[in-house]
Symmetry: C2
Subunit: 339 residues, 2 copies
């Protein structure tokens, strides 16, 4: 394999200097048309590609975004993250950025790993997921002034409007509100199957159902269980046995929806409308309606926050409060269960 051509080689062929080649690549506007075309031709002829490490060394920018992969926890909801990672990679590529993965099992490990990557000049920014109240990662990132954006809003009251804390999230309440409006077509008694109070995400999703029911002047049963198919199945089976009136069921997750659907089918109501959340393959497999998070929009929003609406370098953070986050409206996917 012949040695890869460098700017120097291109310059020689095009009859210009190194720097002019560099300018054609980075600031084409300041190069005269004829010169630019000659250089571009030479680049094509030689198959020149800039050497990323050399560029990163000189500019002190790696054009790379780091993202943590959670250890596989089992359960259903990894899919949203995976789709997000994929979408992020696509969008990042479009903007001349790369996506580097890193693994860590605890927050402390993650901080250590981020430290290595940042200090080693390997990443310019980080995307963190699954933030929680008092998350040490956000504190660390802020103190080291590493640009970052969170997928998931910060649940600490102070942070939500903190313009230094960029975040993107899906509007869970809007999702369950849409689900509830749809479910009200099937009957007045729309129940909600959610998680115990206290998780920010779960409370949001419950709120969308509650407020929509109130606005419609209706009331409905509210059940809570941990996020587990068997527990959901048992809870819904119990409610149906007690003769609770349920015309439709809005759920905080697809796991819960699957459990609910199975219980309904057991009780001879396989057509009971059950609406899940996350639109996982499992819901699809069973033909259940679900709320689709649109991870592609979340990814686009994350990059907009980090790089501005059209830039292709990680920019300093905006200082206006409203501009520091993006809230994506999810979408109801309607399906009819087979069988």
């Amino acid at each position: 394999m012949a040695k890869a051509p460098t700017v120097e080689d291109v310059a020689r062929v095009a009859g210009v200097s190194r720097q002019t080649v560099s300018n054609v690549l980075n600031t084409p506007a300041i190069v005269r048309d004829g010169t630019r075309e000659r250089v571009e031709q030479a680049i094509r002829d030689l198959g020149y590609r800039p050497h990323t490490a050399a560029r990163a060394l000189r500019t002190r920018r790696s054009s790379t975004i780091g993202i943590h992969l959670d250890p596989y926890a089992g359960g259903i909801s990894g899919v949203v993250l995976d789709r997000f990672v994929h979408a992020l990679t696509e969008r990042a590529t479009d903007r001349g950025m790369r996506v580097l993965l890193y693994a860590a099992r605890t927050a402390d490990q993650e901080i250590a790993r981020m430290g290595d990557l940042v200090d080693g000049g390997e990443i310019d920014a980080v995307v963190i997921t699954g933030t929680f109240h008092g998350d040490p990662r956000t504190r660390w990132l802020t103190s080291r002034s590493v640009p970052f954006v969170a997928f998931g809003r910060p649940w600490g009251v102070d942070d939500v409007e903190d313009p230094a804390h960029l975040w993107v999230d899906v509007d869970g309440a809007a999702g369950t509100a849409a689900a509830t409006r749809f479910a009200l077509d099937a009957g007045d008694r729309v129940a909600f199957l959610g998680w115990p109070t206290g998780s920010g995400t779960g409370d949001e999703r419950e709120r969308g159902w509650r407020e929509t029911m109130q606005a419609a002047g209706r009331t409905g049963l509210r059940l809570t269980v941990r996020d587990d198919v068997a527990l959901a199945r048992a809870a819904v089976a119990g409610a149906l046995e007690r003769g609770e009136p349920i015309d439709a069921l809005v759920c905080a997750s697809d796991s819960l929806a699957i459990g609910a659907h199975l219980a309904a089918a057991d009780a001879g109501m396989p057509r009971l409308p059950v609406i899940g959340f996350d639109n996982t393959p499992s819901a699809e497999a069973l033909g259940l309606s679900s709320i689709e998070q649109l991870p592609e929009k979340v990814a686009a929003g994350a990059l907009d926050l980090l790089m501005g609406p059209s830039g292709n370098v990680v920019a300093p953070r905006p200082t206006t409060a409203g501009a520091a986050h993006v809230l994506v409206e999810p979408e109801l996917v309607v399906r009819t269960p087979a069988g």
Copy 2:
């Protein structure tokens, strides 16, 4: 933020030269104990981290592996890939390697993207997934002599033993064989629900069932449909209606298993043993047994092939035929369906 310390800074503090610091990092054996300790202390005191781009520029090694993310196709089986990516990231980190993602929608796009990354010195090796017969990617990688390993064996006859083509795969036949042996406990008539003949993976999985049945002197029904829950449900429903004798059902995928389970439940046999493949969250949610691919072992095998059993740089490929691939034995996960 103060400027990051360099080898020069460490050298000054430790009272040695640049190169000695470099040696402590890369070839500690040739540095005298006392000196090494002084340098290590200085590294700790200053919080020194080597600058990856500078190192990559000089050594012409990025210590990075590229992996392609498929566009999210819906369906169930993305999970195996996602777990593999995660496991790969963890193992790679342990060996001082990084994992860089790239996205592409077609094989041609993928080749173009790999070209950018390789020529830009961003990656030393590639992991490709979902190889097929006459895959242009393997041809391209070979012609450019880019080190690579495939997750999934090459289905072209010539390539399987080609020592230049490294691959890791899961032994599908061993998986369905284990499933079949387990199913035979439930009764003699173990049926198989698979894909139409012609996909290498599917044929392998069918073979495991067939050979095990033959060895046990039993026969069983064989059904084939495309990988779709509704189609599987219909096929199994039809078979049961016709009164086909089925004591248990081994399936080529979890999608098929879910469809089969639903049909069995419809027919009043919710306890019919149904065994899927891939051990996805969906199978877990329904309490179905499934074959677990052990993506962690696959990832470890991929790195062993690329880097040798213990090295931490991408090594030239082995030339012995047997050493060019790893076949991982999957594991049956037994569950009892609730309900």
